[in-house]
């Protein structure tokens, strides 16, 4: 049983996801309890797996008993163990939020669990083609979830997301074709050794594969200028879904990009082909600046948060591309921290909108006293995102900047430092409005229509999720040394250069 942990982690949500679908034929309310039980099990398994990785090192699993280079391999090391645990915990948290807020239908929870399965699969797979399959499972579930909003605009946003996302995934698939032509293998570890030996790093075949695969994944990560699907998708999806996908989908795609950089192409490739590194760092820097500039110019809070993701993921990708040990640890910390902070922020906007009707930056004026707890959590999360110590947002940025200083990439250091100021530009504005501005919405908002008829627009669970996210954004700082140690132990080829 225990040695099958990695595969159970993917199978459990798929089976759990089929049950609400079948149960919805009988009762429409069966979805939430089934999903809760499944995800509690999932979180338990992920915790056990992360603990195993922390104590015994990397876990590898041959699916169906077919040995690694030919069969499909699941590999869990410090990085993927941490991300798998994040996926399980965040999806459980958002589930608590969805009990009151979300669409309640059985198919919704079926898709929700399918998305968890896809994300977990992307996290723990050790095979580039398997990564494509899970990428598309994640994509399909995410398109369906975005479209589950009541407005038809959600369908338009979902179609846009689908078309752009499919092009991204298809480019990634084309890149796999080039890699297969160059080396004849699909296993990540096997590719890493064969890329150096069988195909030179700077051969056209390998460079094209790198460009296509990284290009495809950056669409999913939503780096500027490939981010256009993201604001529409986040702003039009139901609150539950925007909290969920903003916290996890881009995060896991960024993880996949890191996995591709370090486990497939390896740091030697980045050193041998400086153009590839500079292209990626350049894209990340443009993303940081353009994302912040677009975020400042938004009036809708949810669109502002979406553009903020574009800029924050630029920071993460810059950290990975610099590829010094410190920068990689910083990027990982910021990746995990960003998931908690951004998910919490979207959850908070949902609560504030339901309670007061405010959705725009000007509408947030003076709302600090109307929704004291959520507004305070929102402010804490905003400041954590800016990088005020001791929040986790500070630690991640600090390490990335230190890594860039060590690598003596001075232009990048300048952009990274500026990114903090830019983040402050759009978050400080919101916090200032929340607490120090004259209210613009005076009438008591007639609370949003409630789908389950209990007469309450927000529940204890929704506020608890927001508050816990805010607490975690600060408390996670204490876990950073532990994460750093696990990463150093399980990723030696990468971190002890």
């Amino acid at each position: 049983m225990i040695e099958h942990l990695p595969v159970l982690l993917v199978v459990l949500p798929i089976i759990g996801g089929a049950i609400p679908l079948a149960a919805s034929l009988v009762s429409d309310r069966a979805g939430w309890p089934v999903a809760t039980v499944t995800l509690i099990g999932q979180a338990g398994l992920a915790g056990l797996l992360a603990w195993t990785v922390g104590t015994n090192g990397t876990v590898s699993y041959a699916v169906g008993g077919f040995a690694a280079p030919y069969g499909i391999e699941l590999v869990v090391d410090g990085l993927s163990g941490a991300v798998a645990l994040l996926v399980a915990v965040v999806s459980l948290g958002v589930l608590a939020y969805s009990r009151q807020a979300g669409p309640h239908s059985g198919p919704f929870y079926g898709l929700y669990l399918l998305l968890v399965a896809g994300l977990t699969g992307m996290t723990i797979t050790g095979d580039v083609f398997n990564l494509y399959v899970f990428l598309e499972i994640t994509g399909l579930a995410a398109y369906g979830l975005v479209a589950s909003g009541r407005d038809a605009s959600a369908a338009v946003a979902a179609l846009k997301y689908l078309i752009i996302g499919t092009v991204g995934a298809s480019l990634y698939l084309l890149g796999i074709g080039y890699l297969l032509a160059a080396t004849g293998t699909l296993n990540m570890a096997d590719l890493a050794t064969k890329l150096g030996e069988m195909a030179a790093y700077d051969s056209t075949l390998v460079l094209t594969a790198f460009g296509l695969m990284v290009g495809g994944l950056t669409v999913k990560v939503a780096l500027f200028p490939l981010h256009t699907w993201q604001p529409d998708a986040y702003a039009n999806a139901p609150d539950t879904v925007s909290a969920f996908i903003s916290a996890l989908v881009s995060t896991v795609s960024a993880y996949a990009l890191a996995r591709l950089l370090f486990s497939v192409f390896t740091v030697e490739f980045l050193t041998a082909v400086p153009v590839a590194r500079w292209a990626l760092v350049g894209l990340a820097c443009v993303s940081i600046i353009a994302g912040s500039a677009l975020a400042v110019s938004q009036d809708s809070v949810q669109r502002m948060l979406a553009y903020s993701s574009v800029s924050q993921f630029g920071l993460v990708i810059a950290g990975f591309a610099i590829a010094t040990p410190l920068a990689v640890i910083g990027a990982t910390v910021h990746l995990l921290g960003h998931a908690v902070m951004k998910g919490g922020l979207f959850a908070a906007t949902g609560v504030i909108e339901r309670k007061t009707g405010a959705t725009t930056v000007s509408g947030y004026a003076g709302m600090g006293s109307r929704v004291p707890i959520s507004a305070f959590a929102f402010a804490v999360l905003s400041l954590a995102m800016v990088g005020v110590p001791p929040a986790v947002g500070f630690v991640g940025k600090w390490y990335i900047v230190l890594g860039a200083v060590n690598a003596e990439n001075w232009p990048v250091v300048a952009v990274l430092l500026a990114s903090t100021l830019l983040t402050l530009a759009y978050f400080a504005r919101l916090v200032e409005r929340l607490y120090f501005a004259e209210a613009t919405i005076h009438t008591e908002h007639d609370e949003a229509p409630v789908t389950d008829g209990s007469g309450q627009a927000i529940s204890f669970g929704m506020i608890a999720v927001v508050v816990i996210a805010a607490a975690l954004a600060v408390a996670l700082t204490a876990a950073v040394p532990m994460l750093e140690q696990v990463l150093r132990e399980t990723l030696p080829p990468l971190l002890n250069q």
Binding site: F129, L140, A152, S153, A155, L159, V167, S170
Partner: protein
Amino acid sequence: MFELLNSHYNYFAVMLLLGIGLYMLIESRNLVKKVIGMNIFQTGIFLFFITLAFRAGGNPPIIKEGGGPYVSPLPHVLILTAIVVGVSLTAVALALIIRIYTEYGTLDEDKLKQLYYD
């Protein structure tokens, strides 16, 4: 030039399909045509993989007496999976298009944009 075309015609077909698909995806204003373009684009990629697996004089990868040399079975399996993914994506896209059409009454992207941002 003609020699290259003659020996590498499969790669030219792949490039042509990728180009046509991507062009339709970007340029066509009709949402259904966009989805068709998406499918053509993916078909180009499928053909690219199948081309990779080909070897002159190879048999289908079904082991029998005195068989071999065989074409590589791996890309065929990969593409079978990718085709399934492509079909499900098309199904989801068409379902979304039906919903958009019943709500907005148009499949024209420009008209939709006006309705969408109002």
